[in-house]
Amino acid sequence: MKRTVEIVWGVLIVLTIFAYLLGKLHLASGFMVGVLLFTTFVKGQLVIDYFMGMKNVSLRYRLIPTIWLVVVISSIAVSYYL
């Protein structure tokens, strides 16, 4: 039986715990910010594809929220590492 939604939910929870631990252990700086932002992109894309259901939608519509995510997260990275 396909359990895609459960797996996606599990990955989102694990990545959220990872982000929280980075904060609690005072590791969310320097190189780890890049890692954290990458996991944030993965989380956002998982919600867009599997929860919003954009995975099976024509590319021109699927790309709009994805491009937003890429632009926002890479701009945050630029502002951090400038």
Binding site: V5, T16, G53, S79
Partner: protein, 200 residues
């Protein structure tokens, strides 16, 4: 060898009008996120010092609540999307109503948790005018709070419709429209949480 081909849907799920709202929201929040990020760059020390007053655990719980609420909605949408035939439609709507009720409950839990967080912040004498960090923090989280409130109201209405067995494989537009709005709120928080609560 047979090759499976997935036919792509021409349009996103839900009413197209909600997608116009979603695009506007993405642009608005996008500018606010970038405003925060570049303001932080201009005064890292102030932002790092102010951030210490935030409750990271509260932000973490908020994220878990939103993600899990989103999962409940996906389960409800999937149930009614496959419902054909009077009896199956009725059963699917009854099951979906339980998932939606759970997501409404999670929406309320988010709002309660956020109110407790705001109350803690205000009790420390912090306001919009305290400094630039708190101006962004309050503006972003309160603006997001308003979206969760609206999302919860929408979900409650969907709950009532499922109770009336309104959705079926041929009629999913209403539930999908509410669902994508909620997932938008989720995506926005997924970016907001590390940006404001975690990154130092």
């Amino acid at each position: 060898m047979a090759k499976s081909v997935t036919i792509k849907e021409p349009y996103p799920p839900g009413d197209f009008a909600i997608w116009l709202v979603i695009y506007v929201e993405l642009i608005t929040f996008g500018f606010m996120f970038l405003g925060y990020a570049f303001s932080r760059h201009a005064d890292v020390a102030l932002f790092n010092k102010s951030q210490l007053l935030l409750n990271q655990t509260s932000g973490f719980i908020d994220t878990l609540i939103l993600i899990t609420g989103s999962y409940f909605i996906v389960k409800a949408v999937n149930l009614v999307k496959n419902a054909k035939g009077e009896q199956i439609i009725k059963e699917a709507n009854q099951k979906a109503s339980k998932w939606i009720a759970a997501s409404v409950l999670f929406g309320c839990l988010f709002l309660i948790n956020k109110l407790l967080e705001f109350s803690d912040i205000f009790s420390q004498g912090i306001s919009l005018g305290t400094n630039k960090f708190f101006m962004f923090y309050l503006l972003l989280t309160m603006f997001h709070f308003m979206h969760v409130t609206l999302g919860t109201i929408i979900l409650f209405n969907i709950f009532r419709r499922t109770k009336a067995s309104a959705y079926s494989a041929e009629n999913t537009r209403g539930i999908e429209t509410g669902a994508v709005y909620w997932h938008l709120v989720d995506v926005l928080w997924i970016v907001l949480f590390p940006l404001i609560y975690i990154i130092r």
